[in-house]
C-alpha cells in the first residue's frame, strides 16, 4: 500500500521546504501531539487519551484498537478473554494471504480481527466482542465467525447479554466462500441467543461495512453507533463507481442512518459506558453480580 501523501511537500520545516519557513514557530513535537483530521487543530496526546481518544475541540472520534476499547468499557480488571488462540489459516491457498496474516498479526499484536470474552460493565456481567481495526480492517474470516459464534453460544448457555463493537471492511476476500458462510453461521447463533430472551446490543463504529453490516451488526436488539461512523453495505467508492455520480456529503454516516431509521441512537464514546450500563440495568432480571 502506498503511504498517503508520499508525494506531497514535506510539512516539517526541517526537511527544508522554503514555503513553510514563515510558519516556523516553536511547536510541540510529533510524539506529543497529533492534528485532528476533522478540525485540523493540534491535540496533545496525553489530553486525547484522557478524553477517550475524542477530539476535545470538534468531537472527532479517533480509531481505537480492541484492547483500548475494552479498557474503556469494562470495569477494572474484569475482562477475561475466551478463544484467544483461534486464528485463520490459508485454506484456499490464496496468493499472499499468509504474508498478509503475518503482517496483520505484527501490526495489531492480535491473533485475529476480533477479541471476545466476558466482562462486567457497570457491575453487570456480560459477554463482549470487540473487532480489531488494525487486523486487516476487521475483516471477517472463518476464525472471526467462529469466535463470535462461540461467544453467542456461551452467552446463550449462561443466559448473559452480549455487547458487541463492530468495525469491519466486510467479509475476508482471501478466505473466499468460507468467509461468506460466516455470515450465515453468526446469524444463526445471534438468532438462537435472541430467541431465548437474551439481550444483544451492537455498537457500530467507523467503519462498519459489507458482510458484517449484512449479518450480526444489524441483527442486534438495540443498535447504536458512534458519531460520524461510516455504516453501510457497499462502500462509498463502490457505489460511486456503480451509479457514476458523486455521493452527497454525509451519506452512510451514523447521522444519516439514524434519520433513515436504522439506528436506535448515536452515543458519543465518552458516554458509552454509562449508556450501556443503563441498558443492562433496564434489561436486568435480577442478576447483578
Amino acid at each position: 500500500m502506498i503511504k498517503r501523501g508520499l508525494f506531497k511537500n514535506p510539512k516539517n520545516q526541517l526537511e527544508g521546504n522554503p514555503k513553510l519557513q514563515k510558519y516556523a514557530v516553536p511547536c510541540v513535537t510529533d510524539e506529543m501531539s497529533i492534528s485532528c483530521p476533522s478540525c485540523k487543530k493540534a491535540l496533545l496526546n496525553e489530553e486525547l487519551a484522557e478524553n477517550f481518544n475524542v477530539c476535545s475541540k470538534c468531537g472527532y472520534h479517533f480509531r481505537l484498537n480492541a484492547r483500548q476499547r475494552i479498557r474503556l468499557i469494562s470495569d477494572g480488571n474484569t475482562f477475561s478473554e475466551t478463544d484467544a488462540g483461534l486464528s485463520s489459516q490459508n485454506i484456499l491457498d490464496f496468493p499472499d494471504y499468509d504474508k498478509k496474516l503475518e503482517n496483520a498479526r505484527l501490526e495489531s499484536a492480535e491473533k485475529e480481527a476480533v477479541v471476545c470474552g466476558n466482562c462486567e460493565i457497570g457491575g453487570y456481567h456480560c459477554c463482549i466482542f470487540v473487532m480489531e481495526p488494525y487486523f486487516m480492517m476487521g475483516s471477517m474470516g472463518v476464525a472471526v465467525g467462529e469466535k463470535i459464534t462461540r461467544l453467542f453460544e456461551l452467552a446463550l448457555e449462561k443466559s448473559l447479554p452480549v455487547v458487541g463493537f463492530t468495525v469491519s471492511g466486510g467479509a475476508r476476500m482471501q478466505e473466499g466462500i468460507m468467509s461468506l458462510m460466516q455470515m450465515a453461521k453468526t446469524s444463526g447463533a445471534v438468532k438462537r441467543h435472541g430467541d431465548a430472551g437474551n439481550l444483544y446490543v451492537a455498537v457500530l463504529t467507523d467503519p462498519t461495512t459489507g458482510g458484517v453490516t449484512a449479518s450480526f451488526a444489524t441483527e442486534a436488539d438495540i443498535i447504536i453507533a458512534e458519531p460520524g461512523a461510516l455504516v453501510g453495505f457497499a462502500g462509498p467508492r463502490v457505489i460511486e463507481q456503480t451509479i457514476r455520480q458523486k455521493l452527497p456529503h454525509g451519506f452512510q454516516s451514523a447521522e444519516f442512518l439514524l434519520e433513515k431509521g436504522f439506528l436506535d441512537d448515536i452515543v458519543s464514546r465518552i458516554l458509552q459506558k454509562d449508556y450501556l450500563t443503563k441498558l443492562l440495568f433496564l434489561h436486568d432480571r435480577g442478576r447483578k453480580s
Binding site: M173, A214, F216, I239, T242
Partner: protein, 279 residues
C-alpha cells in the same frame, strides 16, 4: 406485467472440462436460462405475488406459490430477464432491500402454511446504490439470514448462474444448496478481487481460479450438496431437478421441525471449521 418470452436456444454448455474463467463466462452468458425459465418447466400453476408491504415491488425478485407434482411449494427466484427492456426493468437481477423483504414475506407465509421453499439464485450481487443504502440493504440481507436459518419448513436453493456474495446468500441459507454445473458462487466478483489484489482488473482469469467459485470447488469444500449436470439440455435438466426436489422434500418433511432446524444450524456451523487453528 412483463412478457416472459425466452430467446432460444439456451446456452447451457455441454463441455465437461472448462477452467474457472470459462465457467464464469458461461454462468453470465446472455442467453442462459433465467429463474422463470426453470419455474415454467418444473412447476405448474405458478401464481406470482408482488410487493414487500413496506416500500414497493422489486422486479429483480419473482416470488409466488406453485404446484410441484401435487405438492404446494413457495417459489422464489432472482430474475435477470431476457432482452434489454426486461433486463433493465429487472435491474439485471440485482435486488434492492424491498426484493429481499418480499422474499422474506413469502417465506414467512410458507412457514405459516407448511409449504417447502425453493429459491433460484442468479445475481451478480445485491444492488449498491443510493436508494438501496437508504432503505437498509445490509439490514434486509441480515434479517433474511437470521429468519432463513430458523424457518420451520424445508428450504432448497438452486444456483442457476451467478451467485454474488451477500445478495446470493440472502436466499441460500437453506437445508441444501444445489448448483448447476456451470454456475458460480463467491464472496466477491473476480473483477473486484483482481482489482483489489493486483490493482489490475484484467487479471480476472487468475482471480477466478483463486476464489474457488465453481460448483466442483464448492462441492469439495463442503459448501454445497449437489451439482446438477447441464449436458442434456434445459428440459431434461428441469425434469431431473423436479425429481430431486420431490425426493429431497419428501425426506425433509418427514423430519420434525426441531430436527430440521438443528441440522440446518449444524450444517452452517461446521463449514470451514477445520481451517481454524487453535494454539
Amino acid at each position: 406485467m412483463i412478457c416472459y418470452i425466452p430467446i432460444m436456444p439456451f446456452a447451457l454448455k455441454r463441455d465437461e472440462k472448462m477452467n474457472a474463467y470459462e465457467i464464469v463466462r458461461a454462468a453470465r452468458a446472455k442467453n442462459r436460462p433465467t429463474s422463470i425459465d426453470y419455474m415454467e418447466r418444473i412447476f405448474s400453476r405458478f401464481t406470482e405475488f408482488h410487493g414487500d408491504r413496506r416500500f414497493g415491488d422489486d422486479k429483480a425478485i419473482v416470488a409466488g406459490i406453485a404446484k410441484l407434482s401435487g405438492m404446494s411449494v413457495t417459489v422464489i427466484g432472482i430474475e435477470k430477464g431476457h432482452g434489454t427492456k426486461e433486463k433493465v426493468a429487472r435491474n439485471f437481477g440485482s435486488a434492492h432491500p424491498e426484493g429481499y423483504r418480499k422474499a422474506l414475506r413469502q417465506m414467512k407465509l410458507a412457514e405459516k402454511f407448511g409449504r417447502p421453499v425453493v429459491c433460484f439464485v442468479d445475481t451478480a450481487g445485491a444492488f449498491c446504490g443510493i436508494g438501496a443504502e437508504e432503505r437498509g440493504q445490509g439490514q434486509a440481507i441480515a434479517e433474511n439470514l437470521m429468519e432463513m436459518i430458523s424457518l420451520k419448513v424445508p428450504v432448497i436453493s438452486i444456483f442457476i448462474g451467478e451467485g454474488g456474495s451477500g445478495g446470493a446468500l440472502a436466499l441460500a441459507v437453506s437445508d441444501e444448496v444445489w448448483m448447476l454445473q456451470n454456475s458460480v458462487y463467491s464472496v466477491i466478483s473476480p473483477e473486484g478481487c483482481a482489482s483489489i489484489l493486483w490493482k489490475d482488473a484484467s487479471k480476472i482469469k487468475e482471480a477466478c481460479e483463486c476464489l474457488k467459485m465453481t460448483a466442483a470447488d464448492l462441492m469439495s469444500l463442503g459448501v454445497i450438496e449437489k451439482i446438477l449436470p447441464e449436458k442434456d439440455g434445459l428440459n431434461k435438466l428441469c425434469t431431473a431437478i423436479k425429481k430431486e426436489l420431490l425426493a429431497s422434500f419428501g425426506e425433509k418433511l418427514a423430519l420434525s421441525s426441531d430436527e430440521l432446524l438443528e441440522r440446518r444450524y449444524q450444517k452452517f456451523r461446521k463449514i470451514g471449521i477445520a481451517s481454524v487453528s487453535a494454539s
